[in-house]
Symmetry: C2
């Protein structure tokens, strides 16, 4: 048995190692300043509180025997209840039956892809869009087309093509988007809902960075606006994906989908077939700490990340040559940089690592159908201000010399 | 947005609520003796040891910041290393690169289905077979055909049909099979490998109950036999799926696939797209306790489950009327009962719950292509001997009256 390739399904051709992943290896090289990752700073983790929560669950014999046992696929009742109450408090009445617990929001995207996409059908994403969403959806072999947004105003009718028919859903990260840092305005959100209403398609709202706003005013969630239009969450067309990975910690792998209970019911069956359920003990621990820690962590981490964002924006302004532009995110982890069109950021990366000791992610990684090669993503989440200033200075120097060649 | 049905992928038609799941609701009714579930007895869980392990990981600031952070998709290095060493100790030299960590063995099956099955292709399973495997594979829309086994001796050539071509892989649970309790002999394992060699197809060995042997002699794993034939694990055709769900506890959701590194590498990419990684903290905790707890739990739980198995076999022998037969498992949780052909166990279940206060799983749930309706699965894992004797007595009484009608 040597030729495994010959045994794989057709979809295996779309499972390839991501550039981002290979780059993350750069993290382990101490001499490289990495703006490539998108992970939270572990020095900000609420370690003592998490230790206390595990001890409390496992210290109570009755709760321990539940925490270590199988549970139900939809999620532990206490966590579903907390998430439903939290969504209700934020203005969208929501019941536990509107909630499915997943292994982080990545599994939320995989489960949605599995339920909605047959091979050859069309999914709408931004250009650029979140790489993880494309990786999840690729397993179900879609075509991609571009979701209307600030930079694309195609009419709904133009999406009723002969190839693959009407799109299956639109995917969007409305807050502090990965990779652009962009936040959709209220008007843009309403236009997106108008578009989805006109086509009668579901929208997937991916919202991992929601609690990480450093400036500007919060805009209502897409699911909130959709539920208001439809007369309630059960009649709305939005599936909202969330996670504790950025609001508390990522290592427990707990996220969720909130949406109309009819769709949630079917997603539960897909989740059950995929892995039975998310870790019981991790769900119980997060249900215990969520009420306190989501708020206290937001207070704790926002000033730190805000200072890093500001340091990166200031360094870009101080050092980048004319012709380079970048986004100014109100939250999240990412800044999206556009270089002059003739500079290929994928080709530049090797030089950046070798000559400037700086890692970033080339923009081409974020286009489902291939796209601009002169953009790049910077993350400011795990680097202190001085290191950011130095690293951006070196990167800007490299860009200057590339422009002079 | 009311018609969600119209938005789903084709595969959604194969995602339906399982009979087993609805039956599990019976668990919560105190007046019913349930032989329906297949879960471990939580009174046997190593709660103190698990509490100590979480405290140790989170009590060390350096380990805590790793445990609460994102990790790599293939699994935490310490856990991969322990599993590779354990497989090596058992006679099959294995490296960490031969191991992928999954969310229990259910996700192992889902990931294998995703990598190997395109719509309409054929997968070989037993008749009956494990329901969870069929649920996982169904998402990828296979046809099913029957894997040769003790009761089926079709030639390899008979599987090279015009519909769907050669099968993609064969799936089997060689030890204490769910639902039959059956264990394949060494000769049967070798015949299965001969068959797979002749067709040149992979075999998936699902081995959740391996540590739960109560009598008889251990038989070499399928992957061990295959690696011996092929000259090493990297050249063999078996993907071995394991889990801590029965050897330690299920609530952490940690399992694995062990196999040739070429296939494991591709499975890692599928796992990454599905949910990035399995919970870091749960992997680290299990890596810490596995060396001690896998062995000590086996010592602790075997006598308890053995006594329950023996009580159920004795009660069946004492109470069941002539014409009823059953398997005598050497381990695991299940006994497979065959009633006279005209008794439909699905129809009988409602009466069993109402008149005999006994729950079981009708055999029809375990046939991928539909099958015998006069069989049923009994589990002895969570019921004490006296309750087993009483419950089997009442069930036998019901079978007697059904036969007399």
């Amino acid at each position: 048995m040597t030729n495994w390739q010959s045994h794989y399904a057709r979809r295996a051709a779309r499972m390839e190692s991501a550039e981002v992943r290979d780059l993350l290896a750069a993290f382990t090289r101490r001499d490289v300043t990495s703006f490539a990752g998108g992970i939270p700073d572990p020095t900000l983790f609420p370690t003592a509180e998490m230790a206390a929560a595990y001890a409390a669950v496992l210290g109570d014999p009755k709760r321990a025997s539940v925490a270590l046992q199988y549970s139900i696929p939809e999620g532990h009742p206490s966590l579903r209840a907390w998430l439903a109450a939290d969504m209700t408090r934020r203005g969208t009445p929501c019941a536990p039956e509107n909630v499915l617990i997943t292994n982080g929001s990545q599994q939320a995207l995989d489960t949605i892809g599995k339920l909605f996409i047959s091979e050859g059908e069309t999914v709408l994403v931004g250009a650029p869009t979140f790489l993880g969403a494309v990786q999840a959806f690729n397993a179900y072999e879609p075509r991609y087309d571009e979701l209307p947004g600030p930079e694309s105003n195609r009419t709904p009718d133009s999406f009723r093509g002969p190839n693959g028919g009407k799109p299956k859903f639109g995917y969007v990260m409305p807050e502090f988007e990965n990779p652009t840092g962009r936040t959709l305005t209220l008007a843009e959100r309403n236009r997106l809902l108008d578009f989805a209403d006109a086509l009668d398609i579901p929208l997937v709202e991916d919202s991992p960075y929601e609690t990480l706003r450093y400036s500007g005013e919060a805009v209502p969630l897409l699911i909130t606006l959709a539920a208001e239009r439809a007369g309630g969450i059960d009649a709305c067309r939005v599936l909202h994906c969330g996670t504790f990975s950025k609001s508390i910690v990522p290592g427990l792998r707990v996220g969720w989908i909130i949406g109309p209970r009819e769709a949630i019911h079917k997603l539960i069956l897909a989740k059950q077939a995929a892995d039975i359920q998310t870790s019981t003990i991790n769900q119980m621990v997060l249900a215990d700490v969520a009420e306190t820690l989501v708020a206290s962590q937001a207070e704790k981490v926002r000033p730190v990340y805000r200072a890093r964002r500001d340091a990166m924006l200031a360094a870009l302004a101080a050092h980048m040559p004319a012709g380079v532009t970048w986004t100014e995110p109100e939250g999240g982890f990412f800044i999206w940089v556009t270089l002059p069109e003739h500079i290929d950021t994928t080709a530049l990366l090797a030089r950046s690592m070798a000559e400037a000791s700086v890692a970033y992610v080339p923009g081409s990684a974020f286009f489902a159908g291939g796209g601009s090669r002169h953009k790049l993503r910077l993350s400011f989440s795990v680097t202190d201000e001085a290191t950011i200033a130095d690293g951006i200075g070196r990167l800007a120097g490299l860009v200057r010399s590339a422009l002079a060649e």
